[in-house]
Amino acid sequence: MTWNEYLWFAIPAVLCWVGAGSLIYKFRKSWIIDGLMIAGIIIFAAFIVGLWIGQERPPLRTIGETRLWYSFFLAAVGYITYRHWKYNWLLSFSCLVACVFVCINIFKPEIHSTNLMPALQSYWFVPHVTVYILSYAMLGAATIASFIQLVNLKKDRLDNNLYNLMDNVVYIGFGFLILGMLMGAVWAKEAWGHYWSWDPKETWAFITSAGYLIYIHMRLQKQHYIKFTLWMLPVSFILLMITWIGVNYLPAAQNSVHVYSN
């Protein structure tokens, strides 16, 4: 199989995922959602396997190929997490981002042959990035919840259910974040000789996790510093965005190994 057959798999998979991600708000019948999600994942996996056999090598070398894996893992991990936590928005979000990656590969086909520099040709690349995307989704959701809770605080009506949701989502998101960092560390050891070299991106990842750790630990003493604790989520999310996008623009990052764009 080659990229020529991509559309035959991509369109059905997108239809399944878009279906599941939107019907979830209409139907109580979970088998429809489960069926659509699993069908989409299997169809998409079939293409990856086919491409693997057709090219006689694992499709991990070009940016386009790694995008296939993002779509696959976002749908699969998003679905598993949804099954476990039953947050509808989580499924919709994973499906949406998975479909975005599918569509980039359809509409920007020249990207298939974009060259991956040798250091990026590692089986850590895909899990490292996918886990981060999931983490950003969770922590983004927690930030929105924290704003709602701050409004509640003003009205002196703190919502305990919202607190539970926030804490859960922060724990999940932080779990993914640490996993992403640890995978990055092991990968760095394999590629560059050291697991942690205080590269600017690593430094900012450290800052970000310190921010979330402050929230997690301050929440253990629920009656204290409620407003400060709630504000830690938006602040940490800003730190997260700097880690993700902003680092490339910092003067401190001129020699970072993470600035790939040339």
Binding site: M117, P118, G173, I178, E190, G193, W198, I214, H217
Partner: protein
């Protein structure tokens, strides 16, 4: 303030005090010298910390211990690390401080935060506080707290092994000529040393991606259109493309090409070969068609461009490396030897040494006559990995159970 139970005020005062002591040390005796911690000092220090924690644990009911291992103090420590992290993340960090730099930033250690006293002291404080917490919670062991143990013990092991281990890590670069054996390496400071390990380079090889085509101004060499140049990466499955004002078709592509006397190319697999392509171009405005060879060239072959008119020509860019590999033999003083092929992301581990493909002669590319390897000595790698494994198990617990099983009441509330 200073009335037990201590909370944030006291915690902030003490952490600030320690940071200030750090700055005073920095100003008086200069940056922290990590080499002081070399084996066996770090091991002794580790044992001392553990003994200290065990002795202190007898006072675990005291208000002081509760504070020292409690939430307000740990949040303050984490905040201090965050602030020092911000300094590190916002200012360029240097490997080695220039002795002639006397600005305030440098003197306070801001250009190399990880070896500055404030950072080292707070790091150490975190190890102690976290250690105290772990001991307290281990004594009151509860099975259902497994996630807590995995996260905190994992982090402690990681912080300890990575921090203390930093003193024992050695990294060197070795440049080996093809066919020769090399014992000498260069350290970060450029010193030449002899190691108990030698490498023979049998062969260096490199694979490259297909090159790109572009149209440049013959005079200035600037790729066109000037503000947003078009590039087309040669792909025989899609041989047609458009660059600037020309349609281009690749008729023939030779990855390993050598020029014939009549300026055509033929396939020859040898180090001096370079990619070449036969292309036809068609001007979209005038319809004029031109055919000819382009070649990206290298140190043994001239590059070849295809002139389009008096102003523009088509060029082939230098191909980007896809993978580069060194076929090496490794010998050690104690008569061990091994044969392996080294590649980026495929290192080779021999005892406490790990050998990495590092670089090559960038000018010569494929024709590089030497290969550079990085040799890293890290006896603390396994403890670090143990920490990483515990911590990842802890993260999976976090994302699987969230804070669902939160115990009803924290013992500090």
């Amino acid at each position: 303030m200073w009335q037990f139970p201590w909370r944030y005020r006291e915690s902030i005062a003490i952490v600030l005090g320690i940071v200030i002591i750090g700055f005073v040390l920095q100003l008086t005796i200069g940056e922290f010298d990590f080499f002081l911690l070399q084996i066996p000092v770090n091991i002794v220090l580790g044992i001392a910390i553990v003994i200290l924690l065990v002795i202190l644990s007898f006072t675990r009911k005291s208000a002081f211990y509760q504070w020292f291992s409690g939430v307000p103090f740990s949040v303050t420590i984490i905040s201090a690390l965050l602030v020092l992290g911000l300094v590190m993340g916002l200012t360029p960090q240097v490997m080695k401080v220039n002795p002639h730099d006397h600005d305030l930033f440098t003197i306070l250690g801001f250009t190399r935060v990880t070896t500055s006293w404030p950072f080292v002291l707070v790091y150490f404080l975190a190890l102690l506080s976290l250690g105290g917490l772990i001991v307290r919670r281990l004594i009151a062991f509860r099975k259902q707290d497994y996630a807590f143990y995995l996260n905190h013990i994992g982090l402690w092991v990681f912080l300890f092994a990575a921090g203390m281990g930093a003193a024992d890590i050695r990294r060197y670069v070795m440049h080996v000529q093809e066919g020769e054996v090399e014992w000498r390496v260069y350290s970060d400071n450029g010193d030449v040393l002899e190691l108990p390990i030698a490498i023979q380079l049998n062969d260096f090889d490199m694979e490259v991606y297909t090159p790109k085509l572009a149209i440049i101004d013959r005079e200035t060499g600037v790729p066109q259109p000037e503000n947003k140049p078009d590039y087309y990466q040669i792909d025989l499955k899609r041989p047609e493309s458009t660059l600037f004002n020309w349609d281009i078709i690749v008729k023939d592509y030779i990855h390993d090409a050598i020029r014939n006397s009549d300026s055509t190319y033929q396939e020859v697999h040898m180090p001096g070969a370079s990619p070449a392509a036969l292309i036809t171009t068609k001007n979209k405005l005038t319809g004029e068609e031109i055919q000819g060879w382009v070649c990206s060239g290298n140190s043994s072959q001239l590059y070849m461009v295809l002139p389009l008119d008096s102003q523009y020509c088509v060029v082939m860019t230098q191909p980007e490396p896809k993978r580069f590999l060194s076929d090496i033999n490794i010998f050690t003083k104690d008569e061990q030897n091994a044969h392996t092929i080294l590649e980026v992301n495929k290192s080779y581990k021999m005892g406490d040494w790990t050998i990495y493909q590092y670089g090559y002669d960038n000018q010569a590319g494929r024709m590089s006559t030497y290969s550079s390897m990085e040799l890293v000595y890290d006896p603390w790698l396994y403890p670090v990995y143990a920490g990483i494994i515990l911590l990842s198990a802890g993260s999976i617990c976090l994302l699987w159970s969230g804070n669902k099983k939160r115990k009803e009441k924290n013992d500090l509330e």
